[in-house]
Symmetry: C2
Subunit: 326 residues, 2 copies
């Protein structure tokens, strides 16, 4: 049940969001939102973030949290090469969170939403013992949809950006708090404000070469298994080709962590992992890194070390590689 | 990040849900769901329920919780005379909640979803310090949409069922726990398993007589104010005509509570409140109770007591009337 304080806050949020696009018949504040899609197909995804599980307010600004809460949903729609359109935002607010926090949260969220042509059209405010954020994102196909199940043996596998930076940023934040920004800003920003590959996904998909795509939220090794299972294929990736930035390597060295474990299992990279048909004139229109190839299903998911040894890569790469302790 | 235990649970849920309807191109388990709408208009609503704020597991069965979590969203779509179609379910699960709880929750939710032709197409499982449920419901117009803003002076105001039963049921549960079922089953069921007026809303709207509609979630007095504000009208309701069941009166008498306070401000009735043009042959095709009439805007929202006295009805009727302490 909304309190009168919540009604005031809803009004503030509505003001902050400004007038919605013409596609929105009914936006924030009614029983339900009423929106238009360009065709009759709708993409829908939802992601819940819980304080203490997914974020720590001691080193996260509300704007950053708003950015990330919608970014992770953009990434899901990107994974299908879809176009995001509408967001609904449920917030469970503890008493420690005040109106200005919520406004800053919405400011961060709105900034990214505007960038991707997305209206925030509704939601829900309620009390809760700790901060809970649940964002639903609706989208529509931008051309054909790109699913997980189309990879074929012989395809190459690639990612759209470096891996492990988010996990490295998290480790830095846990060690140094907000002060990690001084030396490891690139990593911290990767973790707190991931930039979803909505545009890259559409551009890649428009080449007609991409056969399967997924976003990296749980970590590369998990996503490789998802993609292999959905496509009914095996996969071999090369340690030497996995893109890890110098900053991530430096943080690993300083913190005594294995950057490759971050890259394989750290998760929250929100880069795209995709398979594509190798073509003679192979120039994909966005920067990518080829990390391996698609094999027959009997191969499973295999990791080729720099020294040439091959070993099965478990879905939970993080634990496995972290436990080597080297 | 999903744990492997969560993957097992997702598989169980997928099995329990069974194959989706042919309108669902991609359902539970992918990056995003892909669904079809019959036209290019989409209704979207979301409602968050938090343990300790909206429900108490000491007297709520998981099936009931599943029912209610989706019922309150059905009620929002019903308020517009829409047709529910697709649900996404986010769950934040504390360690005290096991897989069998989640399966029973989904069983209760699915039962109501099937009844209203709705597919559960996706969602999110995560850990959380206490149980959090956030259900997003997508729907489409069933004919024209019925909004809050069309009421005109001279219209009559009606509701689709008794009011205050849910609040009475909650009071009984708080006093007697689950044992309240013995003597007050009707009230307890009203509270734990409200039945959304999806069909009634469509039938009422199809008469062409209904000018404004809203569902009663926050309590009659609040909804009267919402409707009056959106329509730019005043409202007068009659105490004598407000439908309160004998069971609610009995619970009020036994517990020393005012049944009229429950009816005006208790909330969670999930009945429809609507304005309609009085017509010569006034036989609406579903049972309704006329509770008042729409007036000019200068009237405000007025409550006519049984003795004929008129007084302004504040939006938060509960507090006001409860504080009379009689």
């Amino acid at each position: 049940m909304a309190t009168s304080g919540e009604f005031v806050l809803i009004e503030k949020i509505r003001e902050l969001l400004g007038p919605p696009s013409s596609r929105v018949a009914i936006g924030v504040g009614d029983d339900a939102a009423v929106v238009s899609l360009s065709r009759n197909k709708c993409l829908a995804t939802v992601d819940m973030m819980v304080e203490g599980v997914h974020f720590d307010l001691s080193y996260t600004l509300p704007e950053e949290l708003g950015h990330k809460a919608i970014a992770i949903n953009f990434s899901d729609v990107a994974a299908m090469a879809g176009q995001p359109r509408y967001a609904l935002v449920s917030l469970g607010l503890p008493s420690s969170v005040d109106d200005s926090f919520v406004e800053a949260f919405y400011t961060g969220m709105r900034r990214l939403a505007v960038r991707f042509g997305t209206d925030i059209v509704g939601g829900n405010l309620t009390r809760a013992p700790s901060l809970v954020i649940d964002v639903t994102l609706l989208g529509e196909p931008a051309g054909s949809l790109c699913l997980r199940g189309g990879a074929k043996p012989g395809d190459l596998l690639a990612v759209t950006g470096p891996l492990g930076a988010s996990a490295a940023g998290l480790a830095c934040l846990r060690r140094w708090g907000r002060a990690a920004m001084n030396e490891y800003q690139e990593l911290v920003v990767s973790h707190l404000m991931p930039f979803p590959r909505v545009t890259e996904a559409q551009v890649l998909n428009s080449t007609g070469l991409v056969t399967a795509m997924i976003d990296i939220s749980d970590g590369l090794s998990s996503e490789l298994h998802h993609l292999a299972k959905a496509s009914g294929v095996g996969i071999r990736i090369d340690e030497a080709s996995i893109p890890v930035t110098p900053a991530t390597r430096k943080a690993g060295s300083v913190l005594g962590d294995d950057p490759m474990a971050w890259a394989l299992g750290g998760g929250e990279d929100y880069e795209l992992l995709f398979a594509f048909k190798p073509s003679r004139s192979i120039s994909l229109p966005v920067p990518i890194t080829v990390i391996g190839e698609v094999m027959g299903p009997s191969m499973g998911v295999v990791f080729r070390r720099e020294d040439g040894r091959e070993e099965p890569l478990p879905a939970r790469g993080w634990d496995h590689f972290a436990s080597r302790g080297e």
